[in-house]
Symmetry: D2
Amino acid sequence: MFEIRTDLAVEEKESFPGNGGEVAGVSLREWRKAASSIKMTEVEILDAAGARAMGKPEGTYITMEAQKLGYQDEDYHKEVAQELACQLKRMVGNLKKARVLPVCGPLHVLAVGLGNPSVTPDALGPAVLGNLRVNRNLQTAQGLPEKAVLSGIVPGVLAQTGMETAEIVGGILHETSPDLIIAVDALAARSIRRLGTTIQLTNTGIQPGSGVGNHRHSLTYKSLGVPVVAIGVPTVVGAAAIVHDTISSMIGTLWSHMETKGMGDYLDQLEPDDQYQLICELLEPEFGSLYVTPPDIDQTVKRLSFTISEGIHGAFFGEEEDEEEPERG
Amino acid sequence: MFEIRTDLAVEEKESFPGNGGEVAGVSLREWRKAASSIKMTEVEILDAAGARAMGKPEGTYITMEAQKLGYQDEDYHKEVAQELACQLKRMVGNLKKARVLPVCGPLHVLAVGLGNPSVTPDALGPAVLGNLRVNRNLQTAQGLPEKAVLSGIVPGVLAQTGMETAEIVGGILHETSPDLIIAVDALAARSIRRLGTTIQLTNTGIQPGSGVGNHRHSLTYKSLGVPVVAIGVPTVVGAAAIVHDTISSMIGTLWSHMETKGMGDYLDQLEPDDQYQLICELLEPEFGSLYVTPPDIDQTVKRLSFTISEGIHGAFFGEEEDEEEPERG
Amino acid sequence: MFEIRTDLAVEEKESFPGNGGEVAGVSLREWRKAASSIKMTEVEILDAAGARAMGKPEGTYITMEAQKLGYQDEDYHKEVAQELACQLKRMVGNLKKARVLPVCGPLHVLAVGLGNPSVTPDALGPAVLGNLRVNRNLQTAQGLPEKAVLSGIVPGVLAQTGMETAEIVGGILHETSPDLIIAVDALAARSIRRLGTTIQLTNTGIQPGSGVGNHRHSLTYKSLGVPVVAIGVPTVVGAAAIVHDTISSMIGTLWSHMETKGMGDYLDQLEPDDQYQLICELLEPEFGSLYVTPPDIDQTVKRLSFTISEGIHGAFFGEEEDEEEPERG
Amino acid sequence: MFEIRTDLAVEEKESFPGNGGEVAGVSLREWRKAASSIKMTEVEILDAAGARAMGKPEGTYITMEAQKLGYQDEDYHKEVAQELACQLKRMVGNLKKARVLPVCGPLHVLAVGLGNPSVTPDALGPAVLGNLRVNRNLQTAQGLPEKAVLSGIVPGVLAQTGMETAEIVGGILHETSPDLIIAVDALAARSIRRLGTTIQLTNTGIQPGSGVGNHRHSLTYKSLGVPVVAIGVPTVVGAAAIVHDTISSMIGTLWSHMETKGMGDYLDQLEPDDQYQLICELLEPEFGSLYVTPPDIDQTVKRLSFTISEGIHGAFFGEEEDEEEPERG
């Protein structure tokens, strides 16, 4: 059976009645940096009830949305990279406060570029890794690192390696013992308008079934013993999601048409669950794995891979600044 | 406004009432090679009426369908490559009979790999060109060619070059004067099941709006003064097409449900044109350019690019065989 | 017979006695921008005698040398890009003064990325084109361009296309009528230390036998009817050149050793021409096409392709500044 | 100090006086398959004395030489692939006899594609992995494998990952416990004529300093606890090796010239060690890492990556045949 899903917590939240009204166990915070067109959202899933409702694990999900990310504006991409660096630093700071990361000494960070380098919308992770300036090799040769130690791997995909990403990453952990994993991945969204314009940052790692490639195993603190911060950008929408949305919208339209004619009784009974059932009957089984992607996805992946790699560099090698915790609204 | 289209003449034909029944000005022929699982279809658009009805220009469209093309079976791909070579030879033979191609002497063939090499489902043309063994450079150095002279170009896409493909190809024609163009392109289909399992061969060239990349200009005998044989494989389905199909199917289902309850009057009035209108209202405008593609499209493009390049080699450099014109059924 | 050559005019000049002393028909100017570590050299070949002596056509050759180009220092690359933009503007300005380029209205520039994208040290041209933001397609859709019209092509290499680059570019000229060609190419140097640290800019275009790929035909004002500015970076040294240099140096060493022992008579007679003859006897014939390249050439090509593309953007789309002609020293 | 080396045992052997005459602790066997133009050589280093003399560890080195490998002749490449499969099977069979590999049940083979995918002559390993059809993922889903279980990894290079290949491979071993590693690597040769025309197969694994990329650590049975069979093709010659060979040859020429004039005394004293010393003085220090490679190396890597991947498929998934041990000559 196909799955109608989104990898973005912010979209999951929006899908609740009242366009993302109060959900028990989930807190929401939205803000905008002054003079910036970047819309920030922080969804926090606080307990098991919230996790069940959202279908995502407990933790923090920060979303940066910016329609202009779709354009080739270098200044703007620099601004987004700085904000990403800033949020990444804050998330790492919180992991230090929680004693999940060592407080002193340079962190050893392993960056993992998930996805299939041969499939354009799934190539974001490998593209980011192609831009990263690793220094673990330099550090061991030239003495103690000052700020952070960075290494990186593009593990490939199951069909190319015959191995789960979790196996490859697990093996590398065993050999190199990093403190922190930064996993970069291309995501699936529900809304077309978020493709290439949104960056999600989360401390919950990578879940099974997530990403453009539908990862089969998790990369999480629990599964690996090392905290995993995931950075993702939606590059596809599941084909089933699009059909579902259109039909839901259509049923609404039909219903209002018919209601005026007193014929709405039947459609009225089509509850969301029934709608879903109906769509499943209509769609062919192979439909579940198909995805929708825009024609200029190659440019989007190229541009955002620079923005994200600069964000990672900024977080670990940038100037020290005091990042104030934004006030909770 | 988005467009619901297919680049496959065989699908256009199927869309007529009675699942592709008689259409004035269009002839259809289907056959299977004995002991082969390749289903062959030849659609011939015979006059202006047929062209109007089909939305495609007059000419011959040969389709090779083979579900097994989706698998990595080398013998099978060799069989398909041989059949493609055979049909390509036949088409070239007919162009010679029509005096559109010179009858004597080695043909000079320019292969054109259309599409965006950076976008996986649009990269079929460039991938085929990567496998071709051009010999125009060898021939000029070593004397007269025996069978055929092959050159090739990957012209790139408008957003990368700032130039229309028709301009680049036109310029190369002006300089090198080939007799024939073979244009290889990734296509859009209506049916998911045809993705990566169908090869279309046509003597009508490339039309505006066709291909994964929605070419803006034509590459045809009329526009270029040189006959253009196009080889294409569908690698995407337009997102709008999928939504349309699902909703059409849904309306049918709803209608039969409601008819039993005597409420079908309203939906009954939803003629195909109204349905289309309704869908257009529901979909966002940017939807038109989105496409649906399967997750293993990289493997498909790689495999089929070998099959097609071998087919082209076979047609122009292979052993001479007498290809009998199949009888018209 | 193999050829010991350099594509850099500055190296050709240095090879004259007295480390590049006075050569009739050749003027030399060297300067440094204040506070910059970029060493600038301008070699001007003024007449036929100079051209014969240098083995290069009449025209201007500007060289920017900067050892730090080998490192990943973004600020520095930005400085070099600005200087490249500045020199490119000056060269274009001189072409306008000479009425070879139109003085009024936006220039239409065709960028050509020469070289083989599949061979790392020859991939500079294609890499630069991958970073360029062409706008010819935008201009025609949205009205008159303000500053310049940019289009671009990666013509591939003879073995892949079966066509000469000059044929492909000539055809595109015929169709799109640009005012100016900017040809970007990877070069062969004599000195290892110049690999990846030098940029040469010349208004003489591309000569037969030049470049990593040993172009067979020229791309020049004379051959194409359009002025051609070439931007190149040396990425290889001919293997024969290295052997020649080492042996010359060895003969010198041996000679001084032997002279002290009174045995130098024979070696003394080994004039440069004899040395060359001797080396030719020693080397196998296939040696001529071999080249020497450093192991981190991929990083070099990636970095410099950004520097050069930014330089081109700066020259044609950057802010207007008054570029003063540096005083002739 | 630069190193004059070859990764080919057969070249090391040839470098001994008498063109590879008797060396204590080293056995040599040469043969040709009837009706085949593949020249086979097996060098066996039998003990520590042989290892010291050859500068390579004890073990078996099989070389397949075929000038025609440089051409695009599919039948010939198929023949070489079959012979490679045959030799690989024999080597695996000997590892089974030695109880280093399990005798019963399907082998689990991990293929490792060493080298830098972004540097053409170093990309052989990654290219072979791109052609391999791994099945470890299929086997676990569909029951017990029949013949062999294949997985594969492209570990990248130190400058890109910040990690040693030995760390990445070691980690994957820890997680997936293969029985055997097949490491594919591009090699450095001494002789230009062996570039792209020779395949070496050895059961000694990968040594520090070997390969185009000068691996820093070993991948061997001793270091990893799993037998490592290495398949390599020379794609570069060290620049220092070429200079050395030319100068050695030059000294010989000079010597004979001078001897006739009674002046050879000095040069006579230039023993090989002195020559080496002299060259070291003449060459710049950065020279050591430079390499020489032919201009059509991209085609060579592409062609041979298919030959080798087919050889690996044939060895583990091909038909069972009785491979007779060739008689020792």
